[in-house]
Chain length 399, copies 2
């Protein structure tokens, strides 16, 4: 890990941000730019919501050729459900950004996050794009510019051999295993082939952003984009290259770190719940079961209340669609000392001291482990708890 | 509708309840019996959770032959995830009930609802079964005996030609479109064929209990059972019988009434949200889309806060898996005067006075209508809002 690493940790990536007042009631950086000094191969993963924001639709088109050189992003307005004008505004943002850096507008990724159904204040956005000075230490400002209900910027970077990889993410509400109200941008100076990059991103997203849940919701704006500018030199990383596994693992660890930062900052949350499922009949079953545990509102509220109501966890596994047999299932909490505490095994509840069971749920990070005894499938999911404060925040988001 | 109607409204059905202390910290009726003076054809619909409670497993076996004559139910303990002893206890409950009424134990339906992972206190349950006096006006006591976090008994009856139909339900948490922590029992003195009854029940459940949501969860104990004792006489209702549609409609309206009573009493809720989707490409799409609206935590919390954040409703439709085109979708609230208020149409937000939009969300019952403009599919779903009080209640259920 690189201390304070961001998207500007890799060589040749510059970033910056401005405060233009996209939402007039917000006092924060709200427009940001990332620029690479060299053209990049790029890949994206997008929301599965049938409703897609206009900025996202434009980015999908711009990324279709597998290349990009800049990102323009705003918070405070999702530029979604606003008709043809939303598309025009997103294209205009790309044009202004392209003109600023002297690149083709089609090489610009556009991202917008915030309230659905309001128009972008294009005069202010334009002024922001003009004013921003991109620099080699502007990554943190960019991370701040894309925040909405996030309380802190989320970023990470890792260094591997001769190259590094950095990422930023936003999004702490409308977060569900099929992506979320989230924007994530990852950069690297490694030289990689585009098809390899696209596959590595899909796999990394499956193990990270597709394994987290805050509130069972999926927004129309979700985007994860990775850009690789090749400035590290050396041979192009592709399947079979000696560094292929290293690259895949770097991308996976960057995405998991960012995903866990999202859960750690989840709206109104007090807990990061890690649910590990092992012994599933298949990997896909393990993924389903671990996700259902962190999605279950019954589990989320019980853990918030330090209530060792473990039947809700077994019931969530039963609901997940994964193959399960009650007789071969075991459920463990982790004690504050790091020991396994077995709550259920061989089809029957185990005798556990009530104070010990409660103590397992007291730390900020809570670990649950389920073994299904049916095969070799294993997976991990992360979720937040559900609190009164979450409800309060979400009952008055636009008003 | 029959005022104060219950499962004892139809001729020949008797019921009663006792307070035995299944949960030592509860002071309420917690064991109940229903008995029919004549044998009944019967049908059931059960939870889709792969984890199934022991009482439910025994009932499924007893109902497999399509007949039943009595019900024994308890609250306070789900008799679930307790190993072989759970099965033995449920069989024992059926045996005691059968002996009391002089019928085969296989004609007894057993139902348990409450905390998962605790054993039934069989000595107290047995005493309750012995003590209960079943009477022709005991339906309300029975409805009270199956309540857990419900704040009021839920019951309804309708009278149709020469016969009536009555029902009771419990369950105001772990409620999701695929059934819920719910028990529902419906009785009628109509004479019907068993296969016809089973199909009519499945259809009625699809339009009622499978269209409601409180908290996205599905419990391992859910059961809907209908019993018809034929004491009305006359020809047996079957497909093609002149009263076939009447019977189906009676069962549907009883189930919808009970389902709406559940939402009206949802844990911590302040709203009953009715979501109507019309113009979907298919009926199944309409069902998916209307359910997703009432399931969405973003929608639930916004309506709780009277926040006209309508983008979350459009986004929920997009998430539902139903075919949708933003340009042909329209969204309406219903004003306190009963007028349609259009928030979104032709791909763009409509100008709506903010005070009017808020006023649409102020009543206890809130109506949302989405037209998809793609076909003839239409469906209605009902859900509660999500409140701080729900979180408080669910964070300390077992402790």
């Amino acid at each position: 890990m690189v201390p304070d690493g961001t998207v500007t940790t890799p060589k040749g990536f510059l970033a910056g941000a401005a405060k233009v007042g996209v939402r007039t009631d917000w006092d924060k950086l709200d427009v940001g730019l990332v620029y690479s000094e060299a053209p990049c191969v790029a890949a994206g993963v997008y929301t599965r919501n049938a409703l897609k924001g206009a900025s996202l639709l434009v980015s999908m088109e711009h990324l279709a050729n597998g290349s990009a050189q800049a990102i323009v992003a705003n918070s405070g307005c999702a530029n979604c459900s606003v008709g043809e004008r939303g598309i025009e505004d997103a294209i205009k943002m790309a044009q202004l950004t392209g003109a600023k850096f002297g690149i083709d507008p089609h090489e610009v990724v556009v991202a917008s996050t915030g309230v659905i159904g309001t128009f972008l204040p294009m005069d202010r956005i334009n002024r922001g794009i003009e004013e921003i000075q991109v620099t080699s230490d502007g990554g943190l400002e960019f991370a701040r510019a894309i925040m909405t209900t996030d309380t802190k910027p989320k970023h990470v970077a890792v260094r591997v051999n001769g190259w590094s990889m950095g990422g930023v993410v936003k999004g702490v509400g409308m977060i569900h295993p099929n992506m979320a109200t989230m924007l994530c941008f990852v950069t690297t100076e490694a030289a990689v082939s585009q098809p390899f990059l696209a596959r590595a991103l899909k796999d990394a997203v499956d193990d990270s952003f597709n394994m987290i849940d805050i509130d069972n919701d999926t927004s129309p704006d979700d985007t994860v984009v990775v850009m690789a500018n090749g400035m590290a030199g050396g041979g192009t990383i592709d399947d079979g290259h000696p560094e292929a596994d290293l690259f895949r693992e770097a991308l996976r660890s960057v995405c998991i770190s960012l995903a866990k930062q999202q859960i750690g900052d989840a709206e109104g949350a007090t807990k990061l719940i890690e649910a590990r499922v092992e012994g599933a009949a298949t990997m896909e079953d393990a993924r389903k079961a671990s996700r259902e545990i962190v999605v279950s509102i019954g589990v989320k509220t019980a853990i918030y209340g330090h209530d060792a109501n473990w039947g809700r966890i077994v019931s969530a596994v039963g609901n997940s669609g994964a193959a399960m047999k009650e007789e071969s299932l075991a459920l463990y909490f982790r004690s504050p000392d790091g020991d396994d505490v077995c709550l259920f095994r061989d089809g029957v509840p185990q005798r556990v001291d009530a104070a010990l069971a409660k103590a397992c749920l007291t730390p900020r990070e809570v670990y649950l482990r389920v073994t299904l005894g049916l095969g070799d499938g294993a997976a991990t999911a992360w979720g937040s708890d559900l609190t009164e404060e979450f409800v309060r925040l979400n009952s008055m988001y636009t008003t």
